[in-house]
């Protein structure tokens, strides 16, 4: 077991982990962050996405020990301060159905809009292409993110 310290949703946290513990499992089981989900366990679906130093990553392919000294944001972190514009857009557009893939999409969309506040539809699709959804057919998800383009 080794102690790691990192920022989780803007708060400094310390926990003990074994090298073989996966970040997704540690976030969900030890730190109570349930929004990142396991959808495939091998990086194919994006449901486990979190922001690591601002970049969207698959937390199912990261060992928890690797994030020592880094910064993680999950959807819980985005929601504490009230819903972000992209979350509002998703809600108003009925973008999600079962909602299981929603946190992953929110992370990918947040990363995109933070880096590029003015994405084209093609750029939106490329940014979201790593997130799988089985319910919606993607159209209302893309619409919602596009509606956040041009906004601050």
């Amino acid at each position: 077991m080794e102690k790691i310290t990192f920022k989780l949703n803007n708060e400094t946290r310390s926990i003990e982990v074994d090298p073989g513990e996966v970040l997704l499992d540690v976030l969900r089981d030890k730190l109570g962050m349930k929004s990142p989900k396991c959808g495939c366990d091998r990086g194919d679906c994006g449901a486990c996405s979190v922001l690591l130093d601002g970049k969207g990553v698959r937390s199912c392919l990261i060992l928890a020990i690797e994030v020592n000294g880094h910064e993680i944001i999950t959807v819980e972190g985005l929601s504490t301060l009230g819903l972000s514009p992209v979350q509002e857009a998703f809600n108003n557009n009925n973008s999600f159905q079962c909602g299981f893939c929603a946190p992953g999409f929110i992370i990918s969309a947040t990363e995109l809009l933070n880096e590029n506040p003015n994405p084209s539809k093609e750029e939106v699709k490329e940014a979201l292409a790593g997130n799988l959804c089985r319910c919606t057919g993607y159209v209302p998800i893309i619409e919602a993110v596009c509606s956040c383009s041009h906004k601050d």
């Binding site: 989900k37 809600n91 009925n94 079962c98 057919g137």
Partner: protein
């Protein structure tokens, strides 16, 4: 007709905020504290074998392992329509992946590690991996005891064969029908198995508390049916329904795969041996592929006779279903197709044989469409081929034969009101049917494909719904139902129905996920029927509450009940326009009279709905006489497809779908079903490609090689058209729509390819590779 205030409006989902804030709780999100145990399932590596020996001794010694269980610990059978399945394999295994043992440990890692130490010895038996081989005269029999299995009275297993059920429908005079035909087309279509691929795994946690009560938390479409099956399976341990509780949190996609009972029974069964501790079973993505229900595969032999003017005179449809190792649910897919495999057409003379055949492959079960996608692929392809031969426009051929309310269905009952012609016309107009499109890109060609669709819910004749409704002090409502929101938006739609009756805005209405202790009964959330069935129950409950409100106001204040109405969360009176009474002032506290006494008290409504006109009493040889299906939802669809002649890659430029939903309670959510369903339908025909090796092992149980479309793979344009020909017995005229939207995808693609290239593809999937190779072959000829 009064204008509706909430029904018919695209309100935002009432569960939307929970889902985008991270608040929505799914089964694996629930915390159970330090006593939580984890189970890892040991699975069969053979498709068909006797179990000679299971050695659990090594696994039991591992620190952290609490217990190891095998089939001998749970000799219980279960099944929805037929009891042909065991909790754990007993004397033999029948598919690769079948559960053989379970290791329970204090943490998931230990359970997973220890499972590798369970040693199973098998004696191989001949494998049957093909449904046609399974029905050959000397085929190995997979279920020697088939003749003894309890089953619903409307199933007809053939003992001592691999035919678990044979649905026969006969109407008119088939021989005469074909004799009268000017042209007969006969051919065979092949549709393989498919996987649901809901993004959330199956998850179930079972706990028997120290008082002996079993609770199961499960990602489920069917909490009541699960409770029923658990109680039945565990009855020899003394369990009855009052001793079993099922709690179903938010479901991360079902598509039929979380209906009935599959792995959930493992959590229930293991819990009975682990008193006091909850035990969790979480499926992996691989297990999702090979050890949950799959969509059955089918080989469909279709023969249709027509007159030169296109009128259908006869139809002979023989469907051989690869139903897998256990068919307790899949047999109903076979059954429902056996009643409906005419498609939405007027067919005076017909013979349908739908065979449910055991194979040593994963169990088939409910999958969105319940067999209709599978037979419509062949049927709608066949109609186009007939049109081409006769020189009739394929849309005209369909219009000519489209079923009307005056026609009888395959099994003799009458067709319900439907807007099929309107759907056809609107789709044809939107896709500019008849206009030949020319590609501007020299590498590609364009083609248009058309398809009709229809489906009825396939349910037992007593599938019922019920609802409770209670007010809170602020006149907000809680609606308690056991219908599941699996993404389709049921909770929102139920809120809208109640909102309309009670004048409470939908966002002041909470519809909770069910707990069988608290929420009244719903058969299952399947068949696209809950908007209709549960909606009727909710409407009745709301009307019950409203009646109580009016009765109370009359009793307490003397105003005539028949002059009262609800508006803006207040009671108002037609004969006293200046008077109004806010609901929140009395729906809990009652109405105070001048003498200081209170009348009334909490207003709680209840409603039950069961279709009382359905029955399965029918002639087993012809299926005539029963009324097994409540109603059909119909529609039409068309697409404009671009095909690259060298690469075979296909792009759907535009797809249009029209559905007669009776009444779109929430048009946005109907559109959500259309868009999502079309993409799922296109995925099955263009991308998803399940492969097995020659020993019955699935080769691609992951998203790397079983391709789900990403947002880069969707049509350029999807147009949704809502047609509303009211369903007389539906809430505000509504009919169900959920499965229907994916049904026409495959035949549209096949028809569009034929239109563009003159190549007819008769097997699925239709990948870019297959198209490219077909084009090359065509060039060589």
């Amino acid at each position: 007709m009064e204008e509706l205030k909430f029904v018919g409006k695209s309100v935002t989902r009432i569960d939307g905020k929970e889902k985008i804030s991270g608040a929505a709780v799914f089964a694996d999100d629930i915390d159970f504290g330090p006593t939580l145990l984890f189970a890892q399932i040991v699975e069969s590596t053979k498709a068909h074998a006797l179990i000679k020996k299971i050695d659990t001794s090594e696994a039991e010694k591992i620190e952290g392992v609490v217990a190891v269980f095998t089939g001998k610990d749970f000799p219980f059978k279960f099944g929805l329509y037929m009891k042909d399945r065991f909790v754990f394999a007993q004397d033999r295994v029948r598919f690769i992946g079948e559960q053989v043992a379970a290791v329970v440990a204090r943490d998931a890692k230990t359970a997973k590690l220890a499972a590798k130490f369970v040693k199973v010895e098998y004696e191989e038996l001949p494998e049957v991996l093909d449904q046609m081989k399974a029905i050959e005269p000397n085929a190995t029999i997979l279920h020697p005891e088939l003749g003894d299995y309890p089953h619903v009275p409307w199933f007809f297993p053939k003992a001592n064969t691999n035919i678990a059920h044979h649905r026969k429908t006969r109407k008119g005079n088939l021989d005469k029908g074909f004799a009268d035909a000017d042209y007969v087309l006969e051919d065979t279509y092949f549709v393989p198995r498919y996987a649901h691929c809901a993004i959330e795994f199956h998850s179930a946690i079972g706990k028997v508390d120290y008082s002996g009560r079993l609770t199961v938390w499960a990602s489920s479409q069917s909490p009541n049916t699960q409770r029923n099956l658990f109680a039945e399976a565990l009855s020899s341990l003394g369990f009855t329904h009052k001793d079993v509780r099922v709690i179903a949190p938010y479901v991360g996609g079902g598509f039929g795969g979380k209906a009935g009972v599959t792995m959930e029974i493992l959590a229930a069964a293991l819990a009975t041996k682990l008193k006091g501790s909850p035990v969790k079973i979480l499926w992996s993505r691989e297990q999702e592929f090979y050890n949950t229900y799959q969509r059955l595969g089918v080989i469909a032999k279709l023969k249709i006779g027509v007159k030169n003017d296109g009128t259908i005179t006869a139809l002979d449809h023989q469907l051989y279903w690869d139903a897998g190792a256990y068919v307790e649910y899949g047999a109903n897919v076979v059954n429902s197709v056996g009643l409906s495999a005419t498609g939405p057409y007027r067919v005076p003379n017909l013979s349908i044989d739908s065979y449910c055949i055991y194979t040593n492959l994963p169990p088939g079960g409910a999958y969105r469409g319940f067999g209709y996608s599978e037979f419509l692929f062949g049927l709608e392809s066949h109609m186009n081929r007939i049109a081409k031969h006769l020189g009739i426009d394929p849309v005209e051929l369909r219009k000519k034969n489209a079923i009307t309310i005056d026609d009888t269905l395959a099994y003799g009952a009458h067709m319900n009101p439907n807007g099929l012609q309107e759907c056809i016309d609107k789709v044809a107009k939107e896709i500019e049917w008849g206009k030949k499109e020319i590609s501007k890109n020299p590498n590609t060609v364009l083609g248009k494909g058309f398809s009709l669709l229809w489906k009825a819910p396939a349910m037992p004749p007593n599938a019922s719904s019920s609802a409770f409704l209670k007010f809170n002090e602020d006149a907000s409502l809680n609606i308690l139902i056991s219908g599941m929101d699996i993404g389709q938006g049921l909770l929102t739609v139920m809120a809208q129905v109640a909102a309309e009756v009670l004048s409470i805005p939908p966002h002041k209405i909470r519809v909770e996920t069910p707990d069988t202790d608290r929420n009244p009964y719903e058969w299952q959330t399947v068949g696209s029927h809950v908007t209709w069935g549960c909606g009727n129950a909710v409407k009745k409950a709301a009307i019950d509450a409203r009646d109580q409100i009016f009765e109370l106001v009359e009793r307490a204040l003397g105003l005539p009940a028949n002059m009262l109405f609800l508006e803006d969360e207040k009671v108002k009176c037609k004969t006293k326009p200046e008077w109004e009474l806010p609901l929140k002032s009395f729906v809990i506290n009652g109405i105070m009279k001048e003498d200081g006494t209170f009348k009334g008290g909490p207003i709680n409504g209840r409603g039950t709905f069961m279709p009382e006109f359905t029955s399965t009493n029918a002639d087993p040889e012809t299926s005539q006489g029963g009324h097994p299906n409540v109603h059909y939802t119909v529609g039409a669809a068309a697409m404009l497809l671009e095909i690259d002649k060298e690469t075979g890659k296909m792009k759907v430029l535009k797809v249009v779908e029209a559905l007669d939903v009776g009444k779109a309670i929430n048009p946005d959510l109907v559109k959500g079903q259309i868009v999502g369903g079309i993409v799922q339908g296109l995925a099955t025909v263009l991308y998803e490609d399940m492969r097995f090796d020659n020993r019955g092992k699935m080769l691609n149980p992951n998203f790397t090689d079983y391709k789900l479309p990403t947002c880069l793979d969707i049509p350029d344009e999807i147009v949704s058209i809502i047609v509303e020909v009211a369903q007389p017995d539906g809430p505000y005229g509504a009919r169900g729509v959920g499965e229907h939207t994916m049904l026409p995808a495959a035949p549209m693609i096949a028809n569009a390819i034929d239109d563009a290239l003159g190549i007819r593809m008769k097997s699925m999937p239709i990948t870019a590779e297959k198209v490219a190779m077909a084009i090359l072959n065509q060039k060589e000829k």
